[in-house]
């Protein structure tokens, strides 16, 4: 641990301010709480919102897991773990089951998280309405008035044009029937895991200076029409080449030599666990 800096890098006042924003976010599920985002030694756009949440919440007894694209070994995950390790000395793990804090980019672990665990998302663009309205001043009003018509219209236009809702990751959902929320760029495959979960989900957008939350047992519904149900990514007939799972989110891999195509679990910890058991 680098003793030139405070435990968990930020000064205690900043951490307290972030925790206050978290409390507000938990009290108003899905609502984006503005906060005074601090600058970190890691790039803005590289997960600084998530890192600030982690730094403000982490204590000496916590066990930290960091994943990127589902993998504990991905360069960005390694880098973030290295930084938190540098300024806290807390224990890190790759085992989803024993982690108390999990910071993630782009995935929710396959194994359902339990009471007492916190999943922290790194969020690039927190505003779900940004795709239909560029101005923050206007989107704030739209949320206040629960005016989500233009978003529904966009979904409808996509249906008319392509016969499909063509949104990939970052698929918007309604939280407790009140706020429309961007679940961060997780695949649609992960959206159902947000609904009535046992754990606390926290979302941090450092560059955009927003924090929001889904407390345990909150109703989270992905946008869909009555006659056109919500549809996840489709891996029918495909299996992980390492553990054989057919019910996980798969990465498409090209063989270096042959150029042949194969699939393997994006969640490396889960894959390892399945392969071992």
């Amino acid at each position: 641990m680098n003793s030139n800096y405070n435990f968990a890098f930020l000064d205690e006042g900043s951490k307290k301010e972030i925790r206050r924003a978290v409390l507000k976010a938990v009290s108003i599920p899905g609502y984006q709480v503005p906060f005074g985002s601090r600058e970190l030694p890691i790039g803005r756009g590289w997960g600084t919102g998530g890192i600030q949440l982690t730094l403000s919440l982490i204590g000496r007894d916590d066990i930290l897991k960091v994943i990127d694209q589902g993998s504990d070994e991905s360069v960005n995950a390694v880098n973030i773990k290295k930084f938190v390790g540098l300024c806290t000395d807390v224990r890190t793990t790759t085992d989803t089951r024993e982690a108390t804090l999990i910071q993630t980019r782009h995935r929710i672990p396959e194994r359902a998280l339990t009471n007492g665990q916190i999943l922290i998302f790194q969020v690039p663009l927190p505003e779900p309405l940004r795709v239909v309205e560029a101005r923050e001043e206007v989107t704030k009003k739209m949320h206040a008035e629960k005016d989500y018509a233009s978003m529904w219209l966009q979904l409808y236009e996509s249906l008319v044009k392509y016969n499909k809702v063509t949104i990939g990751a970052e698929y918007p959902c309604m939280v407790e029937g009140r706020y429309m929320m961007n679940p961060s760029p997780i695949p649609k495959f992960d959206n159902p895991k947000l609904h009535k979960a046992e754990c606390l989900y926290l979302f941090g957008a450092g560059r955009e200076k927003k924090i929001y939350a889904i407390p345990p047992y909150t109703q989270v519904v992905s946008l869909a029409f009555d006659d056109v149900p919500f549809e996840k990514e489709n891996f029918v007939g495909k299996r992980c080449r390492l553990c054989g799972s057919a019910d996980t989110y798969l990465d498409e891999i090209f063989d270096r030599q042959t150029g042949g195509r194969a699939y393997q679990c994006s969640d490396t910890s889960h894959c390892q666990w399945t392969a071992d058991s």
């Binding site: 503005p34 756009g45 600084t48 360069v75 960005n76 782009h106 990939g168 798969l250 498409e252």
Partner: protein, 354 residues
Amino acid sequence: MAYVAVSGGKEAIEESIKLLDYYRSGTDKDLAIEAIENKLSLLVDRVMGEAGLYARTYAALALRQCEGSIEEAVFLLRAYRSTLTRNYYSDTVDAGEMRVVRRISAAFKDIIGGQILGATYDYTHRLIDFETGKEDPTALRQAMHKALAEQTPEEIVPCPRVSEELAKEGLIDRHSPNDQSPYDVTANILEFPTTRSARLQTMARADTGFVSGLAYSALRGFGQEHPTVGELRCGYVELYVPFLPDEKESLYIGEILITEVECFNAVDSKDQLKLAVGYGAVLGRNETKAIAMAVVDRELDNGGPYPAQNEEFVLMHGDSLEMNGFISHLKLPHYVTFQSKLDAVRKTRRADNE
């Protein structure tokens, strides 16, 4: 094979960081921090300004650490800054009291206090001096000291701003002085419409190229009109912080070098014209940015359909850390989201999609 793209991240990062040293290893010569601080002053000034941290030596250290990359140096200073506790806010500085080292007006030939050309590259011919590599730094320093020692120091008289005279005639339209505590953009999120103090702070810290490009767009036709530099002044201002045991007292903590600009624009005022002022102020000597800021400040007051007139557009996209951070994050793996995108694209092309 397996896990080609996603494993081994830790070793790869460590090797990558080692490899960075290679790019600084091409010579036996070293760059002294003192030399960077004193011989690359304009670079140091730009980094300090965009970082929002007035610390010459740290800026020089940062520049040396990152091969002279402005965005990296700004990044280092900003990250360091957020570990420091903010103990004081300084008292309001009146740049009218500035110890001026350069002061020009493009509006009037003669101004109260006089024009002081000071040091500028404006009237140099941009010819590479092939002899500059042979310069003797010690001789240069001694010659300058000697020349300075022969001068008789003049008493410092603060010069009133050019706009003060025009204001007496009632021609000037500008924001009235406001000594309220400023909105601290380093600790709060910007909300729109925002306050003037937030706007000026944000622009003063913005990327030089971004502000200059915006101002240029406004001058070229995507904005109002051609403003006049009423006054550009560069010099030292004194900083004081409140003395806690006695509210009436202040403590002098030092002086900083800043550049300040006021631009004039003729605007409508009930069947008459008046002169509206755009204001710019930046740390160090960074004149183009200070002028550009004044131009954009005026465009924002005016409002309109162009990018330079839109507050949210201007203030949300010029921060060095934010823009460079977000652009560079595109280099991070996006396997999961791209897979999702592929899935959506494939679904629309399937034969059964009717």
